[in-house]
């Protein structure tokens, strides 16, 4: 069982790699396309996966950011994400992991409560982003945001590190999800 470690490989020159993990293939593909269309000075590599662990046979570059996409309409996606989280090295959670919850717009179809993902993100001390990936404009905006996040996590922005960003993002979150 291979555990994904954040720094076990050397970074490629001017390259940033993001791994999108989620059960919704179509949404992931669309998000990947939006990200590649976004403006970025570094070379972007987007890897998609349904779940971890990743097959060892593939020669892949150092992964800078992992985004777990949870679809609020299906409990299966949340389960698969939770199972995948075990295959990550703890060092990843120092800013290189983010959760993305989609489908919050259509409240009637939501089978997972919003608080569940909030608690999940809080347990793993990672930022939680909300976006309706089915809507083009929101997807493009989220893709842009993810590209910026990726650049910081890959070390392409001098002066800001992933951990720094994590504490910055934490400051603007709602305080104490224990109140929920």
């Amino acid at each position: 069982m291979s555990v994904l470690r954040p720094l076990d490989r050397l970074p490629g020159l001017n390259t940033a790699t993001i791994l999108l993990v989620g059960t919704e293939d179509a949404l992931l593909q669309q998000l990947a396309d939006s990200m590649l269309k976004a403006d970025c000075t570094s070379e972007l590599k987007v890897h998609l996966a349904r779940s971890l662990p990743l097959p060892c046979s593939v020669n892949r570059p150092r992964i800078d950011l992992i985004v777990f996409v949870v679809n609020l309409h299906s409990k299966h996606s949340l389960q698969s994400v939770e199972e995948s989280l075990c295959h990550l090295d703890a060092a990843f959670f120092l800013g290189k992991v983010a959760f993305l919850a989609t489908g919050a717009g259509r409240d009637s179809h939501c089978s997972i409560h919003r608080n569940t993902v909030v608690k999940l993100a809080h347990t793993y001390r990672s930022p939680l982003l909300f976006c309706d990936l089915e809507i083009e404009d929101f997807r493009a905006a989220m893709a842009q945001r993810l590209v910026r996040l990726l650049q910081i996590c890959a070390g392409h922005v001098p002066g800001v590190s992933a951990l720094n960003l994590l504490s910055l993002l934490r400051g603007s979150e709602n305080p104490s999800p224990e109140d929920l």
Partner: protein, 224 residues
Amino acid sequence: METQSEEQAVTKPADSGGEGGPPQVAGAQAVRPEDRMTLLLRLRAQTKQQLLEYKSMVDAHEEKTPEQIMQEKQIEAKIEELENEVEEAKTAFEIKKLALDRMQLSTALRKHLEKVDIKTSVLMNNMKQILNLNKLIMKSQQETWDLEEKLLDVRKKRLQLKQASERKLSEIQTEKNKQKDDLDSMENSDKIKTIQQKLETEIQITTVIQHVFQETLQISFLKR
């Protein structure tokens, strides 16, 4: 239990030379070295940042992580403690940076002032202007304060006048009431009753005397 999952990779080539991807004109040879320079500088900054991150990870791993299994609550508390430490380190760093910047700024300013002729420098003009404005501000603030004091005095006097007039009016009222009371009491007093009785007796005596005189006059008329 291993679940082999599929993986797909999608890539995008970097914009040539960096920002914005301007169209490569064949004749613009001068543009290429510029772009290369910026690319190199950017790569340098990137590599520096990545090196910093790796170094800090190495330092972090040298610290012993606690191996014992802690309870969930303890873990939560420990995590929050560490997070607070990170925040404190960040703020301390920011403050130190500010202090350093301030020191650098003041030395640069001092050097600049030493170099430049004091009478004509723009900086001195600015500072003189600032001083003048400050004086004006202080003067007008003082004036405002004085005016407010005057206003306050006038208001106080008005209040005092009002209170005095209130008192006078209430005094008048009490006087009137006293008079009315006196009048009422007078009607029921005993003195008046005795006077009334005496008056009645006097009236009776006078009527008797009147009758007597009338009789004598009638008798004298009859005797003629």
